[in-house]
C-alpha cells in the first residue's frame, strides 16, 4: 500500500505567527526609556527620548 506523506503545515504556521521585529524593538526601546520616579508614596513615569 502506498504511503502518504504530508508537509507539516503546523510548524510553518507557528514560525509565521510571531510579532514583527519592529514591534519587539519598540518594546525594548520603550523599556529602556521608561523611568519610574518615586516621590513619597507617589510614582511618576518619565520617558526619555
Amino acid at each position: 500500500m502506498a504511503k502518504f506523506y504530508f508537509k507539516n503545515a503546523r510548524k510553518k504556521d507557528e514560525a509565521y505567527l510571531q510579532p514583527q521585529e519592529q514591534t519587539i524593538d519598540f518594546l525594548l526601546n520603550y523599556s529602556k526609556s521608561l523611568n519610574v520616579i518615586e516621590v513619597g508614596t507617589l510614582q511618576f513615569e518619565t520617558s526619555l527620548n
Binding site: 507557528e14 505567527l17 514591534t23 519587539i24 518594546l27 525594548l28 521608561l34 510614582q43 513615569e45
Partner: protein
C-alpha cells in the same frame, strides 16, 4: 523540549534590578505563544500586533513600578493581560462603527440616510389617512378626547378644562376610544403598519 538556562523568575528579577537584556530574553522566549494566542482570538495581524505591544507595555510598567508579585507564574500572568486586552478590543469594537476594508469601500456602509424613501413615505401617508377615517367612526365624546390628546398634544388636565368633564372621565374616554379603535381594526382586518 527546550531547556532554559535561566528561569523566568530569575529573568524578571534581573529586569527589575535594571538588566534590560533580561526583558529581551523574556520576550524572545514567549513572543510566539502570546502572539499566537492573541491571533487565535482576533484573526487579524495588525490588531494582534497592537494587542501584543499593549500587553508588553503593561508588563513593563508593572515590573518597573515594582508591583509584580513573583510567584513563578510569569507566562500565565502575561497571558491574562493579553486576554483582558483582547476582551477590551471586542468591547471597543461593539461601541464603534467600523467598515471592513475588503477593497470595495462603500460610503453607505458607514453612513445612511435615515429619512424615509418615497415608497415608505407613501405607505405612511396611506396608513395615516386610514387611521383618520377610523377615528371618524368613534362616538363623538371619545373622538374629541383622542384628537385633543394625540393630534393637538394637549394634557388630560387641559382636555378636562376644555370639555368640562373630570380628568378621570377624560382618561376613561381615551381608554375606550383606543379599545374601540382596536376592535374596528380587528373586525375589518385592517393592517396599519409602516
Amino acid at each position: 523540549m527546550k531547556e532554559y538556562t535561566l528561569s523566568d523568575a530569575v529573568l524578571v528579577n534581573r529586569y527589575i534590578q535594571g538588566d534590560e537584556a533580561a526583558l529581551a530574553t523574556l520576550i524572545e522566549r514567549h513572543k510566539q505563544r502570546i502572539y499566537s494566542f492573541i491571533f487565535s482570538k482576533v484573526f487579524d495581524r495588525d490588531i494582534s500586533e497592537d494587542i501584543f505591544q499593549d500587553t508588553f507595555i503593561k508588563v513593563i510598567k508593572t515590573l518597573k513600578r515594582g508591583k509584580y508579585n513573583e510567584e513563578g507564574k510569569f507566562l500565565p500572568w502575561v497571558m491574562r493581560i493579553a486576554h483582558n486586552l483582547v476582551i477590551d478590543h471586542f468591547r471597543k469594537g461593539n461601541r464603534m462603527p467600523k467598515f471592513e476594508d475588503n477593497g470595495e469601500f462603500s460610503i453607505f456602509s458607514v453612513i445612511s440616510d435615515s429619512d424615509l424613501n418615497a415608497e415608505k413615505q407613501l405607505i405612511k401617508e396611506q396608513v395615516e389617512e386610514e387611521l383618520r377615517n377610523l377615528i371618524q367612526e368613534l362616538p363623538t365624546d371619545q373622538r374629541e378626547v383622542l384628537i385633543m390628546r394625540m393630534y393637538k398634544d394637549m394634557s388630560f388636565k387641559e382636555i378636562s378644562d376644555k370639555t368640562g368633564v373630570s380628568i378621570n372621565t377624560a382618561l376613561g374616554r381615551m381608554r375606550y376610544a383606543l379599545i374601540n379603535l382596536r376592535k374596528v381594526i380587528d373586525k375589518n382586518n385592517i393592517v396599519l403598519t409602516n
